[in-house]
């Protein structure tokens, strides 16, 4: 921050914003190390680490063998003993290979040891569909990890939050899982210079509206904004809440919006069944905000199917802007 406390804001891509956060952390804190597959000279499968290895060397930006379980466990052990590792999964799908270390170790060590330790590990997961990579490279598994007490799970949807949430994750003493949507890596947006936090556990109201609340995660927050702009042309004013953090969920922001609009549409890319939107819906249904509902809650989520290869099929199994427009318009019908 400069003397006036107003940092300069530039336009960066989501990937550049993440890289800038890691650059700041590596420069400021000797304990920070990056670990992952092909994050060194290759620059990462999605070029997120880029040239950081040239600046910080292979001891700070470490290529790991293709050993997700072992690599994640090394990060956990290192976090337990003084380092601040940022572990990149090449694709979020590969978390399936490392669930033991994430779920049994990282998430539980503090509790199992009666609070004697903290596990300040950050894990990054390039997630989501839309790249033609099919069923094993396109999943959205945030609800899996969001189900585990001990973890924090965030899903930035803008370059600014991608940087701010990563820096917040690094300053957090507990394990933070960051799900980055692969289609957002090239998204351009304003990013403040220097160090700042986007608070973990705090949703963002992206658009103010009075007719319905759309609670969306990750890239669906961007799609919801586009849908809301479209809806605005026909006089439907949607409030768009970007959840940003799946665990712990920002209950207050969601409930306040639902109390105001009386209508709730949840939009998320993960499989609809037992997904993040199910939790948002239940949270509203169990609260006083339920009394403010003028219509049943609606969820749009991923189909109950693996992500297919064919591009038209691939689009069809996750919510798109027209789907959101249609669902929101139907939900808003009959409003008073």
């Amino acid at each position: 921050m400069n003397a006036e406390n107003t940092p300069e804001v530039r336009t960066l891509s989501y990937a550049e914003a993440i890289r800038e956060a890691m650059d700041i952390a590596l420069a400021e804190d000797e304990r920070v190390v990056l670990m992952g597959e092909d994050i060194g000279v290759y620059g990462g499968a999605f070029q997120v680490t880029g040239d950081l290895v040239e600046k910080y060397g292979e001891t700070r930006v470490m290529d790991t063998p293709i050993s997700e379980l072992g690599g994640a466990g090394v990060a956990v052990g290192a976090a337990l003993t003084g380092l601040r590792p940022i572990f990149e999964f090449q694709f979020s799908d590969f978390a399936t290979l490392a669930m033991e270390q994430i779920v049994n170790q990282a998430a539980k060590l503090r509790y199992m040891l009666g609070g004697a330790v903290s596990v300040p590990v950050v894990m990054r997961f390039p997630a989501g569909s839309g790249t033609g990579a099919a069923a094993q490279h396109s999943q959205s598994l945030e609800a899996w990890l969001g189900h585990v007490p001990g973890l924090k799970v965030v899903q930035p949807s803008t370059p600014e939050d991608a940087k701010g949430l990563l820096l917040a994750a690094l300053d957090d003493p507990d394990p933070v899982m960051i799900f980055e949507h692969k289609l957002l890596y090239k998204m351009q947006g304003p990013v403040p210079e220097g160090r700042y936090h986007t608070p973990i556990g705090k949703a963002a109201i992206r658009r103010v509206g009075s007719d319905l609340s759309i609670v969306a995660t990750s890239i669906m927050a961007q799609k919801a904004i586009a849908a809301a702009d479209e809806l605005g042309k026909s006089g439907v004013e949607a409030e768009v809440i970007d959840l940003r953090t799946v665990r712990p969920m920002d209950r207050e922001t969601v409930l306040a919006s639902v109390r105001k609009t009386g209508r709730l549409l949840c939009v998320y890319e993960g499989v609809k069944t037992l997904g993040v939107g199910a939790e948002v819906s239940a949270m509203v249904a169990e609260s006083d905000a339920f009394d403010f509902l003028d219509a049943p809650i609606v969820r749009l989520g991923g189909a109950d199917a693996p992500i297919p290869y064919n591009p038209e099929l691939e689009k069809a199994v996750v919510p798109q802007v027209p789907d959101i427009v249609e669902a929101a318009a139907a939900l808003a019908q009959g409003r008073t």
Partner: protein, 344 residues
Amino acid sequence: MAGNPQMLDANTPYAVRSYSPEALIEALRKMYLIRRFEEGAEDSYMRGLIHGTMHLSIGQEASAVGSCMALSDNDKITSTHRGHGHCVAKGADLGKMFAEFFGKETGYCRGRGGSMHIADVEKGNLGANGIVGGGLPIAVGAALSAKRLGTGAVTVCFFGDGANNEGAFHEALNMAAVWKLPVVFVCENNKYGMSTSTERSTAVKNVAERAAAYAMPGETVDGNDFSAVTEAVDAAVARARAGEGPSLIENVTYRWRGHSKSDRNRYRTKEEIAEWQAKDPIARMGRMLIDHGILTETDLPKIEEEVAETVAEAIAFAKESPDPKIAEATRDVYTPATARGAAA
């Protein structure tokens, strides 16, 4: 008396040549402590004072204590579900261990972890682990920290023969070797992963042969011979400390008790158990110290008596300790905001 230079020759066991009489007597005392601790735990379980289950390491005491001889509190260990011995060897307090067993607030994990999760971070014990192979990558991570932060710490990673067929074993050994990290992998081969023998589960005859696949030294030793264990692990620790990378030591030993409290011992014979009981590591250690004039026959009962007293006091402490508060059942899932300065 002990350490008499005239008594030392090429046939003198490594441990007697390398450690002071005081250190050796302390090692024997710890081996007794482990055994009496576990017998006490077993007895408490039978009386219904402990719930859940437990995995006893009776018969494996030389491996636990011998492998920690060259370690200081700065050095780390990772342990297993059969980890009481490692915990005592690294200097844990028996009262806090029993209290954890009893589920008490005064236990090492404030009653949240139980037998399978006892850790003693101040003494460098990063914890037992309920997942077979779970501690292996964590140990490599601890060694990575030591190398990057220049702490000089060595990590001794205990695991059983069962873990050597987990993917985590292979991934961890490979990474430790690629990055030349200061870690010693100590396999306690007690011949059975629960009921399945190493002959039926493991393609190589000796687990230590697998070291060759990761370009590190591998050695199989008599895990019931305190001096043999110490000789092998000390050399591996020295190698790690000198920056020469990891080693794999296989301590061949035997658990006298079943895998856990549900074990009916259907996969092995009484004769086999008796045969291994005859190789009792504690009796052998006592004999070694007597043979080299470090102790006399009459010293042993005194040590045993003192250990029994310590165990009785520890059990009394645990019994008298308060239970955790129900209202605090979800405490320590996350680090409280007030503790963050310290954690950072």
